[in-house]
Symmetry: C2
Subunit: 231 residues, 2 copies
């Protein structure tokens, strides 16, 4: 009996990890595929939440936009992660916009399809609970950081998180494998690109990071962590 090659991929994603074969087969059967080019919008803040996606390869960015056009980067999404959780949780509309960073391949489901799968296979529903719990937890920590820390610490925390999430060991240190402008870092840390630029310059002088255009390499992760802990 042949197995569909998608099943192995699905089985390693955060939503389907550990699910029985029957569940993976049902999920696969109900799925469609989608491919997006860099800067293409996957789903738009305020639109009705009809679809759920799981990233196969590539990277997306989830943002929140204010009425006057300011942006906040909620998180980056990588392979195996869910985009468009609203279709899981039953919200009417997408709370934020998701946009492609790289050329990205996705599995997709309609809201009703994925809910059917969750209803039928409780392990997938439990995975959904786990994944949302983790994101909620992460947001609590960021809320605390934003409320209690000074800008320099927040930027340090942002970079520490990014290096764990998308870090690549190189000769010169841990390179963050996402193109990151100063503006992007500012939108993740709750500050301005100017302050980020100044901070990175200071760190570069101290040998903590080395960076270029849309690129950050952490040369001394230990020192960066100590910035995080300063009073």
């Amino acid at each position: 009996m042949d197995q569909h090659p998608d099943l192995g991929i699905l089985g390693r994603t955060e939503l389907f990890r550990g699910a029985p074969m029957a569940a993976l087969q049902d999920a696969q059967a109900a799925s469609f595929r989608k491919r997006v080019a860099p800067d293409e919008i996957v789903l738009r803040q305020g639109d009705v939440a009809t679809n759920l996606y799981v990233i196969i390869v590539g990277r997306l960015r989830a943002i929140q936009t204010t009425a006057d056009g300011q942006q906040v980067i909620v998180r980056y999404l990588g392979p195996g992660e869910v985009a468009g959780y609203t279709a899981l949780s039953g919200g009417e509309r997408h709370p934020g916009t998701v946009i492609a960073v790289d050329d990205t391949h996705l599995f997709g489901w309609t809201e009703s399809a994925i809910k059917d799968v969750m209803r039928k296979h409780s392990s997938i529903a439990l995975n959904a609970v786990a994944l949302l719990g983790e994101r909620y937890h992460e947001m609590q920590i960021r809320l605390r950081e934003l409320s209690t820390e000074k800008v320099e610490q927040r930027i340090a925390h942002t970079i520490v998180r990014l290096s764990q999430q998308a870090g690549r060991r190189t000769a010169r240190g841990i390179e963050i494998a996402i193109p990151l402008s100063r503006q992007d870092l500012a939108e993740m840390s709750g500050t301005t690109l100017h302050t980020v630029s100044r901070t990175l310059s200071a760190w570069e002088e101290q040998g903590i990071v080395s960076c270029g255009r849309r690129r950050v390499v952490v040369s001394d992760p230990q020192k960066l962590l100590s910035v995080t802990e300063e009073v």
Copy 2:
């Protein structure tokens, strides 16, 4: 055939709403009860997450504490809401502390008990997904507010949210039915008690609110909303 009186209460909570009778019965059978006095700790940040609670009557407050003792108020929890979601989502330890505001009655479950119920009754698992999705959504909005808004707007948003969540119509306006010190409002808005005090004084002069010791009444909700929208 008699019905347990708890079933009606359970059926109106966010976790069990809309569940079939069999699910409610299983949940009720596995539950225990707990009662906490004001200021008593229900669960502690960093402790292993063994239990889940649902509030019957009363009110709790979920906080995050930093290493150096600063606090952030994540949210208030009222009747029907879940405390200790970590037992649902499978995290190892509680991300925050939950403490009683009023004398509070709770239903409780062990982690394994509530997970058994979710596995057996998918509608409850789906409710858990919905509830965590909503909280995640709320946190995204707060993150955006904290990143992009000035202090006065953030305090206004905090009070608007509280008045929706725990507002009581009175002759003088909408009274927030939670004892709220200036410090509490500061910990919800990401500022200091001094700034909150000054802001409330200014608003009182403009007839937007009237407040006393640990008490806030919104006299002009419309004006408060307009503060929220200022550039």
